[in-house]
């Protein structure tokens, strides 16, 4: 009998501390909203990827890779190689400058020069890509008279990539322990040698990851290329100026608006190729960083 009352006593006590139904409801609502929000985002991403895959895969055939675009039919060889060449030259320009900027900011970036550069670099990330394209048009295409060309497109893309590469390089180099620098200087290394033989090798994987991400961004861009690279139905002939270059994203944008099925098929194939490449680069960059951390 006594025991019973004791239990009843604890039960009333527990009831005092129990969560009220209102609090439970608000809790459940928050969890629900959180799950639904995530589900919507994941669904949209998967829908885009699956849609591009379903539309793009049947549009792929050997002709896509072996023939050039003829008007709104044919293959995509010129555009595929054009995309790669444009981004490749952009990388060749942006990587040395961007990594140098990263080294400078990480090793000498404490003063006001470093602070201002970092701020301007952050602001450069926020400049709309179409503005970069317009800048490329008035300076490189018109000002230098290069016309629509590989160099105009690549330089514009390089400006776009620069702040990303500089940022990731700076972060990667900052993460190298200070003791590495002390040890190198203690052995009498010059700064050049320290950077080239100690810091850059130690930080190579995160730097490479940043470069890969920048490459993915450049491959997927359209707006900065519309009025710098132009378009061409032919394979790139090796001229840096005075000759337009085709690229995949242009095909997606311009061919989907045409009223012909052959044009649509090319647009789907281009979307499949460019999305596939961007996805692959993103996944491999992720995996690279993961395995390196482990």
């Amino acid at each position: 009998m006594k025991e019973m009352t004791a239990r009843q006593h604890t039960q009333t006590k527990i009831k005092l501390f129990a969560i009220s139904p209102l609090r439970r409801m608000v809790d459940a609502l928050t969890w629900g909203l959180a799950a639904v929000s995530f589900a919507i985002l994941a669904f949209v991403l998967l829908h885009i990827l699956v849609y591009v895959f379903i539309k793009g895969l049947p549009a792929l055939n050997l002709k896509i890779f072996t023939e050039d675009t003829q008007g709104i039919a044919g293959g995509l060889r010129n555009a595929l190689l054009g995309s790669l060449v444009l981004s490749g030259f952009a990388l060749a320009i942006a990587v040395p400058i961007g990594v140098s900027a990263g080294v400078y900011l990480s090793e000498h970036g404490e003063g006001w020069i470093g602070k201002i550069s970092r701020f301007l670099s952050d602001v450069l990330v926020g400049v709309p890509s179409v503005v970069l394209g317009y800048f490329g048009y008035i300076t490189l295409v018109i000002g230098f008279g290069w016309k629509f060309s590989l160099l105009a497109g690549s330089i514009t893309l390089a400006i776009l990539m620069l702040p990303y590469i500089a940022r990731t390089s700076e972060m990667a180099l900052r993460a190298v322990p200070q003791s590495f620098r002390e040890a190198a200087y203690g052995l009498g290394c010059s700064e050049w040698r320290l950077i080239w033989q100690v810091l850059l090798p130690a930080a190579r994987i995160p730097i490479l990851t940043g470069v890969l991400m920048a490459l993915a961004i450049a491959l997927g861009e359209t707006a900065p290329l519309l009025y710098t690279a132009g378009w061409s139905n032919y394979l790139w002939t090796g001229h840096f100026t005075h000759e337009g270059v085709g690229y995949l994203t242009y095909v997606i944008w311009s061919f989907i608006g045409e009223p012909y099925e052959s044009a649509h098929q090319l647009a789907y194939a281009a979307a499949f190729l460019i999305t596939g490449m961007v996805l692959m680069i993103n996944i491999s960059a992720r995996l690279l960083l993961l395995t390196w951390r482990r």
């Binding site: 849609y51 008035i138 460019i274």
Partner: protein
């Protein structure tokens, strides 16, 4: 001595290459300004307050107005672009901020270990999908769905008491469609930074909350989120900046209105970025070059707005101790 000279030379060389980065920003502003200057003189303030983008009569001889050569009846007023840009970006933010915040809460609190890594990767991939692929998807999937299903329903349900929801609903190209696409494009920025911040909350804070009898969600809502206010405002402004400058996706789904302001959320709009991309072809036909200068003025205006928005965001993030 030789050694010192080498070191200095190396230091200055490195600095000079590194300086190309901030220099390119300054060069961009300067050249855009130079290119836009004839248009700025010709247009005056009317550029900002009129809805009158008109290249003039291409077949007539150029005339001279105030010492500048232009085509007859040429007129450049881009109020509709300013309104379109701000509206699409702001509505995108209204959609993206709550979704981004709640998704971040789900990733940080509901998932852990490899499920969180995969979930985060999925959301972050939304930012990696190329703009033009969003445009393609919006054009082929979203527009038919919104135009036939969602917009008529919205009109039917809210149109009677909320004026901006009133029809006509159009075909699906327009303000809300562009905002929805933009919302998905910028949401990963918000989710990623907020998720990291929630995960990084000191365990002591959670324990203190739990010891007061708060449930897990109550700790998030009452203790963790209030501390992230500055970060949230900062990344939201950053997301706004990105939405303002998006080009291809907006170009393909916004309906590209000319010289008209949207009357409801379904009407076609144009943004500064998409207008630059769509109009340069015809602007090049202007023999006086004034149309290209006027587009440069739009680019300059867009750039100034983006820089202001980004600087504000960076400032806030810097104050809150984050450099995203």
């Amino acid at each position: 001595m030789q050694n010192l000279m080498d070191r200095l030379r190396f230091h200055w060389g490195l600095g000079a290459v590194a300086a190309l980065l901030p220099l390119s920003l300054i060069v961009i502003v300067v050249f855009l300004f130079i290119s836009a200057w004839p248009a700025i003189k010709f247009n005056g303030l009317g550029f900002l307050i009129h809805n009158s983008w008109n290249l003039g009569n291409m077949y007539a001889d150029p005339i001279t107005v105030h010492g500048t050569e232009v085509l007859p009846r040429a007129n450049y007023g881009v109020l509709f672009l300013i309104v379109g840009t701000l509206l699409t970006a702001l509505i995108a933010l209204v959609l993206a901020v709550p979704m981004g915040v709640y998704a971040a809460i789900f990733l940080a609190e509901g998932l852990g270990g490899w499920t969180r890594a995969v979930g985060s990767f999925l959301v972050e991939l939304l930012a990696a999908v190329p703009s033009v692929v969003y445009g393609l998807w919006g054009y082929l999937v979203l527009i038919p769905f919104l135009g036939k299903e969602v917009f008529p329903w919205l009109e039917h349900t809210f149109g009677s008491f909320i004026p901006v929801f009133r029809g006509p609903v159009g075909s699906g190209y327009g303000l809300l469609t562009a905002s929805i696409v933009l919302g998905f494009m910028v949401v990963p920025l918000i989710t990623a930074s907020l998720r990291d911040a929630i995960v990084a909350t000191p365990a002591a804070l959670r324990e203190a909350g739990a010891s007061l009898g708060a449930s897990r969600m109550e700790v998030v809502r009452r203790i963790i989120m209030p501390g992230q206010k500055q970060l949230l405002i900062g990344v939201s402004i950053l997301a706004l900046g990105r939405a303002l400058g998006e080009t291809m996706a907006v170009l393909m789904v916004s309906g590209n209105a000319l010289n008209s302001l949207p009357g409801n959320i379904y009407d076609p709009v144009s943004t500064m970025a998409s207008f630059i991309a769509s109009q340069l072809d015809s602007a090049m036909q202007d023999p006086t070059g004034m149309a290209v200068n006027a587009l440069a003025e739009i680019a300059l205006l867009l750039m100034v707005i983006s820089i202001l928005v980004n600087a504000a965001a960076r400032g806030l993030l810097w104050l809150s101790g984050n450099r995203t």
